[in-house]
Amino acid sequence: MISPFGWIFLNFKPSKMKYLKLSAIVFSLTLILASCSNSSDNPESADDNFDRGAMLANWADNIIIPAYTSFNAKAADLKTKTTEFSTNPTVEKLQELRNTWESAYVSFQHVSMFEIGKAEELRFRNRVNIYPTDTAQIEGFISTGEYNLDLPSTIDAQGFPALDYMINGLATNDNEIISFYTSHTNAEGYKNYVNTLASTISSLSAEVLTSWTAGYRDVFVSNTASSASGAVDKFTNAYIFYYEKSLRAGKIGIPAGVYSNGVLPEKVEAFYKEDISKKLLLESITATHNFFNGKKFDGNTNGPSFKTYLDYLNTIKNGENLSALIDGQFTVAHNKANELNPNFVEQIATDNTKMLQTFDELQRNVVLMKVDMVQALNISINYVDADGD
């Protein structure tokens, strides 16, 4: 905006011209540099720079898209099994549905952290896994038959937790649960709702997967800019947010009473199923751990990742081996979580200190990632004039 000054100077005496010209040229060049730095797509040179494009490609091609593909198949399966159950509500079909639900829920732990692009736009995680579910709202929806699950106000009446209630929580034994879908005066309402829940999960998942395979992958991989809108920065923020809020706080901290006076066992994940909250936790720790290491979704090889990126930066910095610390802490947290009772409600009732210990181990990686890793990668959190000065 002050470029006019550049040519004021051109009126000056020749003796001063060379400095004027020099500064004018540098000034304009750097301005051009600054303004086009985000749109540049010059190929990274091979040796002296970490290739973020390759890391993003590894994330997208070997982890994110395979994980969504796998989840999407399970979600489609869930939809099929739900239809089968609702057309023929038997104890056997109910059990089949439960198994499919559990397997899809476990699979979801591998995609929940990828809240970027379409998933971010749809608020995918909120649509699929907000717990505790609001049973009063669900019953209201079923009795009136009027609901629109696209509305933000319905996030705690849908997804896996709502299905959990519909297939595990309506009554204390299977026959009574079945009766809601057979002899209940509003059995149609229950059938419709359970079907809507399953098909919503399936269609949301399909929408996210399609967006990745039909173009977003390239947008993501080519967005190597180092700014708050660059893919690495955005994704890192989303990943750490997931680890801190959904995994550490949601699965352990909140039910263990870290954020309240007293424990809140009714807020565990898969509350009605009762015995898989540990399984879901372990799966999500493994998923975030694997992602950190860049491990292929269906394979054992590791590609470019946070770990290799930190190692590269450390060859410049010669500091502590941060990637080893984070990697090790994931293992420690996983082992600690493994000591818990499969049913967190029981664990909280018998010995909540184990829950709190798990929380502490998970917490250590929040610090290592949110403070040390973000600092090392120089991730921008917000766009304001701020950093440094």
């Binding site: 905006m1 002050i2 000054f5 004021i8 000056f12 001063k16 400095y19 004027l20 020099l22 500064s23 540098v26 000034f27 750097t30 301005l31 540099l33 600054a34 086009c36 730095s37 985000n38 540049s40 010059n42 990274e44 040179s45 002296d48 720079n49 970490f50 973020r52 190597t224 180092s226 660059g230 706080a249 954020y259 309240s260 006076n261 007293g262 410049i316 910095k317 500091g319 502590e320 917490q363 929040v366 610090v367 290592l368 949110k370 403070v371 040390d372 973000v374 600092q375 090392a376 120089n378 921008s380 959190i381 917000n382 766009y383 304001v384 004039d385 701020a386 950093d387 440094g388 000065d389």
Partner: protein, 454 residues
């Protein structure tokens, strides 16, 4: 000594440099304010948050809800009036007050360059910047002067010199010079700059930037003062500040510094600049010159000089107040702000607050998202005065909610210049029992390392 000094005070100089400074300063501020508003930052920084971090003693300065926009509009209009030199004295006072009010609303947004602008604004209240090439002078030729006291122009040069030299001295520490920190963290992340991107991965480049930055800050005022090196120095100013603009998110500051450096130039340059502006706006510049008094502007009141002298003396001393605190400055930040410590450290933290019933032992952890924006949380988590103020805010909040025997504790970790994060605040200290003051904060844990130097 005294005769030479009073002789100096009676010296006069052309009014053109100060007029150019006034015009560019006013325009820069107008652009800055407009840019700030267009970026949506008024809402994001001053209306959206529920709670604002105050400077010690200025707790009464708070955003005014939607009326906050009004302060920005007033500040923008005042900037324009300053540039035009229209009702200058009133305009610059309004500018200084409104701009400073904005900066005092929330210290989360503290930037050295905002402080610099407040300082310049304050100084300009006392300078006859409207004596020449201003609407005031045009409307009332008896107030138009070709010459003004030399010390008035020099006071701005002095302030600029202080900024550079303090910034340079602050870089004389072991992290900056011998570890190339924090540039070693910041520069590699600019991998996507054309040409520079790969170069910025090299360790020698980090050291080259660190050392040349420190040397630049220390010698640039002298190169600008010394006539034979002046144009060379100005070229350096342009290169240096444009480079910082490309590398770091520091907004308008580089442009403001480049334009400010013009004040070091001779009268001829300033007349040409004013002549150029005159041609742009079809002003008859020779008439501007001919209608001004040949005599020098004289201050009617004699308190101006003492005020400016005291102000500059304070500026000279304030950056050194950190010497009164025993611990590592970068760690405790006691005496860190208002000292031209620019781009000196990369610091990040994590702070988790626990509200305890100190009688019954019941406790729960606070989710910072409930009270702070992500930017506020980021700034809070590594600055002790923020942590303390936020703890008190939380304490009051939960007392109002009916909690009893409230104690507020924090578990916090901070990483400084690439060192591994370490515990920051004593976790067993009830922060409600500590109050903000200028005294040493003994509840900050020791920094288990040493940064040598100034």
């Amino acid at each position: 000594m005294f005769p030479t000094f009073s002789k100096y005070l009676n010296k006069s100089t052309s009014a053109a440099p100060l007029a150019v400074f006034r015009v560019f300063f006013g325009l820069m501020m107008l652009v800055s304010i407009i840019r700030f508003m267009l970026n949506g930052w008024v809402y994001k920084l001053y209306i959206e948050p529920k709670f604002f971090f105050s400077y010690y003693g200025f707790e009464w300065v708070q955003p005014l809800g939607d009326y906050t926009y009004l302060i920005f509009i007033i500040c923008g209009i005042a900037s324009l009036f300053v540039a035009l030199g229209y009702k200058y004295r009133l305009a610059i006072i309004v500018f200084f007050l409104s701009f400073t009010y904005i900066e005092l609303m929330d210290k989360t947004t503290y930037l050295n360059h905002y402080y610099f602008i407040s300082c310049v604004g304050f100084l300009m209240v006392f300078l006859p910047a409207n004596a020449y090439f201003s609407l005031d002078a045009y409307k009332n030729p008896s107030k138009a002067f070709l010459r003004i006291p030399k010390w008035t122009v020099d006071s701005i040069k002095f302030l600029l010199g202080l900024v550079y030299i303090h910034a340079g001295l602050a870089k004389l520490n072991s992290d900056w010079l011998f570890k190339a920190m924090p540039l070693k963290i910041w520069l590699p992340s600019k991998y996507d700059l054309p040409i520079l991107g790969d170069l910025l991965q090299q360790e020698w480049v980090h050291f080259a930037f660190s050392w040349s930055g420190a040397i630049y800050d220390l010698i640039i005022p002298f190169l600008l003062l010394y006539k034979p090196t002046r144009w060379f120095a100005f070229a350096l100013v342009v290169i240096f500040h444009v480079l910082t603009r490309v590398l770091f998110p520091i907004g308008m500051f580089p442009f403001i510094m480049i334009v400010s450096a013009l004040i070091f130039f001779d009268v001829g340059v300033h007349h040409r600049i004013l002549g150029f502006i005159s041609r742009l706006f079809r002003i008859n510049y020779s008439k501007v010159i001919s209608m001004a008094n040949e005599k020098s502007f004289r201050f009617k009141r004699n308190f101006t000089l003492p005020i400016v002298a005291i102000f500059l003396a304070v500026q000279l001393l304030l950056p050194w107040r950190y010497l009164l605190y025993p611990n590592e400055l970068f760690w405790t930040e006691e005496g860190f702000r208002f000292s031209w410590r620019v781009m000196l450290m990369e610091k990040a933290g994590y702070a988790q607050f626990t509200i305890k019933n100190t009688e019954k032992g019941e406790q729960f952890v606070v989710d910072n998202d409930d009270f702070l924006t992500s930017f506020q949380e980021k700034q809070m988590s590594f600055q002790p005065d923020f942590i303390l103020e936020y703890a008190h805010y939380l304490g009051n909040h939960f007392k109002k909610q009916g909690h009893e025997n409230v104690g507020v504790f924090v578990e916090s970790y901070v990483a400084l210049n690439g060192r591994l994060s370490q515990p920051f605040i004593a976790p067993k200290v009830d922060l409600l029992k500590k109050n903000e003051s200028f005294c040493r904060k003994d509840w900050i844990l020791p920094f288990n390392d040493e940064i040598k130097g100034l």
